[in-house]
Subunit: 342 residues, 4 copies
């Protein structure tokens, strides 16, 4: 049976990516698209690559009839999301793509985002949306909090190792390169083509990136003790893709085995043969994740590489995967699109 | 009922693109993949982005059991294709992606490709594969000749105008920018990243590009008289996509009307509102074609812009569209994937 | 003797390019840099690539002591330039990089820029700054109007042909691809990396681009009659560089000869051997211009290709070349930097 | 007085970069250019961006009259360099850009490069060419061994810290992103634009990259004990530039102070204010190096970032800097070109 879907904040990249994926989903249908500042425009005007689709015109949120909607994807900025989601009817399911419901501890939320949380009751019921590690909770959830794209990448490279106890928890470095679409369709000088192309640089170096809030929360949960990682994201001159190069203390074979055990049945996780490395090009436009393990020349150290597409598995694909579970669909429905290369 | 598909020459970009598209096709299944120099390797080794798929190992062509194959995609270099296709059993259907069967006149073939044609009997039965203009012939064909990617782009921007008689046939200029994947996965100095990125240049300027053979053949056919266009392709620093900017003498409104009439029922052809221009980004990774019309400031002149993805609608998507027709499937099966942007 | 230079509007790309070039100029010294919104910052903060230089802090324009300045480069937006330049002391020389003084006819200015010209007296004394065609006038000028970067490219490919009478004036098409830095460091959605990279599209198609005002003025002047060209610029995914592919009716050899005669003594104009095409990569970061001629397969038609770097020969390098003349320096001083490839 | 220069191996990127830099050098003149496979061609044919220069035609090495040459830049592949340099007259000075004379220990050379060294006498007299740390030895040397480009980047970020004793020698990780021109103008599938653009991946992960031979040699020398670092290079989609993100255990302020002391008088080393990070875009096309220090959120840990242009300071600019010293010129002659941005 067809499920009716609304996308709030459809004029951003994650909104467009949701529409792209739902376009070939076997049982989801888009019932409403909102974009406050672009209300009245068609999606094809805002995103010409979607011109071939027959889609509802963009509206304001308060024009949506939520009684005819089964599930809402909320692709709004953090803080806005709290307010909007608080006002939604209780019988609609929600996948939120913002940062608003990722951190279970309100103090951590305030530390990383600077403001008090305004919807603590919703925060309590929200389930952290990394499907592979929260599948059962997500299946029964009303509100799922999509993860940060960098946070997802790091967790795919570390959670199975922490759970299996095969790495030293006090020596973890996540060095990461992120494509520019992760920063959204926002007018910032540092996102201009002339500023970004043909080069790279780190940002939020030294442990100041907000996704550390998610790392701290999740790694502590799985480890049963605090885990403080180092994390340096870089902005690379590519539109899509995240590559994490993770330095750990541990035996490469035990690490590879831990991944093999954890990901054996996962439809989207691809463990590469020992010694091979992940590449962002190999997952572009898809919901797949590549994970590689390489032993270092220093005995007892290894490098884990993880790649995913920030707009797909890092946000909108992940969101759709969760929505599938929440609505009783096959988890992979609409998501088996192969990566686009070259 | 599942149809069994073989891809000959699967280690090139068009071969990989066929596999990508067939991966989510509802009724096609890959029975054999060949790549002479990479026989014995898995597709995942040659193209890591396809690692998640369960595919046959690459073999040599003579190891393929064609009795278990319904249709062959032949993605081999021109000249090689003639020999290989001549040796295939008569009851297998074939979509050829090379240039070997595009030109009906053997003299034209020799002019543009330099060698005599070695399979003239096959040439006679081959149908030119631009689906939108040869749909009925393709449906009944055993052998379909996929078009050149630039040739397809130019024809989408001109054939309806020639048929409708709304442009001057002696003043047609096709200026075109092509992404680098059109040149294939070949080791040429001018295809290196360091040579190509961050710049552009024309190539085969002055009327020497081989796809002119197709333009001359097709435009003459539809016009009922010779039509000699000017054509300058450029190599742009992007992997996928072709943009044709076509200068014609004619009334913009009549031109727009001619397109509207020709493409009204076409599932993959998107006519933009008058004055809007096509962009390669809006069709990337998809089988869609965007067509725009802009009046020039000089009365009686107009600019037609056409964009498509050279690997999809320009070759492998077009090939799959034709295969759908030849095997009695829905024409759009497996091809409604929305473009990937950004 | 050292000449003191002020750069007004130093926080944009053309301002930064001026500083880059002056950094190794043998006799120019930067006395003042202004940037209204960034006054108080150092140039190294605004442009980290200039950190190694010992430069004055950015100020507001009214803080500059123009009595200690020999020449002002005015790299401000059009309209602003008129007001600022009107207020400068009469004994300071000025090279303006905006569009404000390019069009000698106030009506043409209003047509293309939408507002009345507010400094008609200055307009009258301004010399059009395409050095190769106005060298003598520039040498004696107080105010020189730098040309549009696209306008410069087109003129290098057409003025010698118009003067020599070797092409048909009623069949000229300038198809052009421009790097994104030409649009400046401005916060526009269509200039974001995620929007622009990996693709191309035309803009201002159909004869609406403002640089047509310059084409119309200059071509008419050299032809002694109106010349109305077609002009389609495209935005290509590269930071620097313009390639013009110009379609003309005329004999290729006569065209090549006309260029050879016109550019024989020009230090920055490189005429390629017959049949070779210009490439933006071959002039990147330099003041050089490449010009190529290719005969078309249609007798009596030819393709002219021209490449230059929009920030150097297209604006700041051209400006410096003019300043050299105005201040009695060698015309090539500081400008012989070889292109940066790859 | 003009010095006569020969460039052996002028058809590669480092050769072209040498010619670019020498083009505006005040006292060097190119007397000979060699390229075995392209002998007889002009440099402008091989590298159109150098067309404006009046250069000797490419020849074979044995056609060069070395008696008229003051200094030879040898930009040949490793192993070839040994043979060629052994055959040069004793009174010509040599800057070698290959890996052949970088490693003082023949066993280390064999370990990293796989073959026995065939010119051990020359190896003994060769001086390691990182100017900032070997200035005096280089001044008096006959043969200087240019460093690896990644090796140079890592050393600029670590040598002052090792000498000052401000970091833990057993916890050093060099994570590095390199532009593709570092791999040279070689026909390898993985260097094609379609393979490389729009993504990133590590290579030679786990401690297998040859530049580790240089790290091991140099860090041990300055530390007075073995130092074994971890090193993961990545190939980023940009033509020029290397960014090293280096993870160390040490106090950020002490680290910043050590750099400040070491680089205070260095003309090409730019130490950024505490907390700022290096970017490859800020040094592109120049001989400058940017170094930044950021404290980590984990007390006692810091991140050092270093950027340089692999073709300039990483190879040809460094070579020219050394040649200046060897020939008694100002060290900065011809090298003060400001970076090209954007």
């Amino acid at each position: 049976m067809t499920k009716k879907i609304a996308v709030l904040g459809a004029s951003g990249y994650t909104g467009a990516e949701l529409v792209r994926l739902i376009a070939t989903h076997p049982s989801f249908e888009i019932a409403a698209l909102t974009a406050d500042r672009k209300a009245g425009q068609t999606m094809g005007e805002v995103f010409p690559h979607l011109r071939h689709l027959d889609l509802p015109v963009l509206t304001k949120i308060d024009e949506v009839d939520f009684s005819a909607v089964d599930l809402v994807f909320c692709a709004l900025p953090h803080k806005t999301s709290q307010a909007v989601i608080s006002a939604l009817p209780r019988d609609v399911k929600i996948v939120d793509l913002s940062a608003d419901f990722r951190l279970r501890d309100p103090a951590a939320y305030k530390t990383w985002y600077g403001n008090d949380h305004a919807a603590l009751d919703l925060q309590e019921e929200a389930v952290y949306g990394l499907t592979e590690f929260y599948r059962d909770e997500i299946r029964g959830a009303r509100l799922v909090a999509g993860t940060g794209c960098n946070a997802a990448t790091g967790q795919f490279g570390l959670v199975p190792l922490i759970r299996a106890g095969v790495i030293d928890l006090d020596n973890i470095i996540i060095d990461l390169q992120a494509g520019v679409s992760g920063a959204g369709r926002s007018l910032k000088e540092n996102l201009l083509h002339a500023e970004l192309s043909e080069g790279t640089h780190p940002y939020a170096a030294g442990g100041t990136h907000r996704h550390l809030g998610e790392f701290d929360q999740e790694f502590a949960k799985w480890a049963g003790r605090p885990v403080t990682v180092q994390f340096t994201p870089h902005l690379m001159p590519a539109n899509r893709g995240i590559l994490a190069t993770i330095y750990v203390h541990g035996e490469a074979q035990a690490i590879h085995d831990a991944f093999a055990a954890a990901y054996a049945e996962e439809p989207f996780l691809v463990l590469l043969p020992m010694g091979e490395v992940a590449s962002t090009r190999s997952v572009r436009g898809s919901n797949f994740v590549h994970v590689g393990v390489t032993p270092d020349r220093i005995p007892g150290r290894a490098i884990v590489t993880v790649s995913l597409d920030n707009l797909t598995k890092g946000s909108s694909g992940q969101a759709l995967q969760n929505a599938n579970l929440m609505l009783g669909e096959a988890e992979t429905a609409g998501l088996m699109l192969a990566p686009v290369f070259p």
